[in-house]
């Protein structure tokens, strides 16, 4: 017996869903498992690279999916669901940064992201870690969403909550700085 049958229509009594939205819980267990399998690794990579803290990325990935399942999200298929998931994760990261920290995220060692033995790294990947470390968190976010995930400026604006018009300028500056750092081996 499920709890919905014990407490009938409880969810129906919650805040009414927005037009064109559906509860993620409408996704059944198997649909969710498939969606999770397709999206979880890229979400984790985003969180881990932007926060530079794999343990935090673990926590926030789980929390993002739980919130996703509890929320109403746009009925525009998997692409929109994925974007919504990134938006939740971005908000969680922002909340995390706003909280008083016991230690700075800049203290997290980058060797956590090092490849296991036997794998090779190109020069650009090897230089990426020190270059990313010198970028501001927001710039890391923008760069990752634009160039690793391939989101458009409009989509990045939806995910980050920044004005669409300012994304272009912010990305331009971040990209120029990042390219300089990559060419100089992470030296500012």
């Amino acid at each position: 017996m499920s709890w919905e049958s014990i407490i009938p229509n409880v969810l129906a009594g919650e805040s009414p869903p927005l037009a064109g939205t559906t509860p993620a819980a409408a996704m059944d267990n198997e649909q969710f498992a498939a969606f999770y399998a397709r999206s979880a690794r890229s979400l984790w990579a985003y969180l881990a690279r932007v926060s530079r803290d794999p343990a935090l990325a673990d926590d926030l990935t789980q929390e993002a999916y739980v919130r996703f399942l509890c929320a109403h999200h746009p009925e525009d298929g998997e692409v929109a669901a994925r974007r919504y998931l990134f938006k939740i994760a971005t908000n969680l990261l922002r909340d995390h940064w706003r909280r008083p920290q016991s230690s700075s995220i800049d203290e997290i060692p980058e060797h956590i992201f090092a490849l296991s033995s036997g794998e090779t790294q190109s020069d650009s990947i090897a230089m990426l870690a020190p270059a990313m470390a010198q970028m501001r968190p927001r710039d890391r976010q923008l760069l990752w969403l634009a160039y690793a995930e391939g989101y458009s400026h409009h989509e990045i604006a939806q995910i980050t909550g920044l004005a669409s018009a300012s994304i272009r300028l912010l990305l331009f500056r971040a990209r120029r700085k990042m390219a300089r750092l990559l060419r100089t081996g992470g030296q500012a």
Partner: protein, 166 residues
């Protein structure tokens, strides 16, 4: 060409995201990228970040989807129960406040009767036999008040323990 971007940036971006760079593009475009700062920055960063994404995505040991599904169900259930019990708690607080007000009003209104009833209580309960004849008349209150207070305290504890078990 705008202030921030090269006119061919979109073309280069498409090629990068489709995985067609650099093999499946013209010699002329490669020459352009080599000479254009914006496009070469774009290629450098996109290739680095995409490689990093592929590498990083292999690292996590993800929690099973079923566990996350279960946690979400649990959270939704708790939120639903919280939402349902909110009006009940409000009604309980309101009922308690009204009871206190009514009892207080009756106590004030019937103050004279209460004092008379308290004065007669030892006689009604035949407590006179327990009190030494030498003790003053008001001494009886020193027995009744602690007894009533103890009963009230014990009742409170019983109610608290019963509600905790639920």
């Amino acid at each position: 060409m705008s202030l921030f971007t090269c006119a061919r940036e979109r073309e280069v971006t498409d090629l990068l995201h489709k995985g067609h760079w650099p093999q499946a593009c013209s010699e002329e475009l490669r020459a352009h990228v080599a000479s254009c700062r914006g496009c070469s920055d774009l290629v450098l960063i996109t290739e680095s970040l995409q490689a990093s994404r592929r590498q990083t995505a292999e690292l996590p040991r993800l929690e099973p989807a079923g566990a996350i599904w279960w946690r979400a169900q649990l959270r939704r259930r708790n939120a639903a129960i919280d939402q349902m019990s909110r009006p009940i708690i409000g009604a309980q607080i309101f009922a308690l406040a009204m009871s206190v007000i009514v009892i207080g009003a009756i106590a004030i209104w019937q103050a004279d009767n209460w004092s008379a009833w308290f004065a007669d209580l030892p006689t009604t309960l035949h407590l006179d036999a327990l009190i030494p004849s030498s003790s003053p008349e008001s001494g009886i209150l020193w027995i009744i008040v602690p007894v009533l207070a103890t009963i009230a305290l014990l009742s409170g504890i019983v109610v608290y323990l019963a509600s905790e078990k639920q």
